[in-house]
Subunit: 141 residues, 2 copies
């Protein structure tokens, strides 16, 4: 699925019909899954990305219903970029794709855990994960 | 630190002086850390909670500056509850405390990775983690 998108959510089904580049199979997120999501005011759910095998937590990103639908149907992790206001197939520019092995939803529906095979570095800085700044604990443990 | 709090952020320093139950040491989050945080419109940063040893991703919660300060200075994971509108020491009612081993900030300052020793179950349902609903991938991999 290509093309630029005006915004997350409701527009996407209409757009997809309009530009006639339908993906095979279901057209939008399974309503049973959609009903379980508890979205932020701007329609998003947090997506924690973990590396298959190592279990390393790589990054945090955001998904709306359409991004989750694309992730589940294409097998490539696809997010909603809050800063750029567009869908974002991780790796589309860097080559550092994330091939999805497993997706799990949390108990209250506001977070996803995405297990991926990570090509190259997950972080745009070139680091393996985005969590490379350790904060000092002020208590002795 | 106990007591009920009117809201996240700016009120907390004044409150702490008012009710005279100061914790020893620094009074608020290190300004160098605060300057790196990129908060949501309601002043929050996502906190991914991972279990020390197993590496399991246990849950996602939210922190404002004061919750992060308390987490770093008390060694007990402390969040901002969006549903209850109050600070929340994980385990204060259940006994399922999270003893903090490590805190890391991500590259763009909008997510924290908290590594903890988890007492009992992390999820209020009694499950080990909150991510116990697997979603079906519609692509063969």
């Amino acid at each position: 699925v290509t093309g630029s998108w005006a915004g997350p959510g409701l527009l996407s089904a209409a757009r997809r019909v309009e530009d006639n580049r339908c993906v095979p199979g279901s057209e939008s997120l399974d309503p049973a899954i959609a009903a379980r999501l508890k979205r932020t005011a701007d329609g998003l759910v947090a997506a924690i990305v973990r590396e298959h095998g190592s279990g390393d937590v790589l990054m945090l990103a955001w998904m709306d219903d359409e991004a989750l639908h694309r992730t589940l149907t294409t097998g490539r992790a696809t997010y909603w970029s809050r800063s750029r206001g567009e869908y974002w197939v991780k790796g589309a520019t860097s080559g550092h794709y994330q091939y999805v092995k497993k997706v799990a939803l949390d108990c209250d529906g506001d977070a996803l855990l995405i297990t991926v095979e990570q090509v190259g570095a997950a972080c745009h800085t070139g680091e393996h994960t985005c969590f490379h700044t350790e904060l000092e604990l002020e208590v002795a443990r």
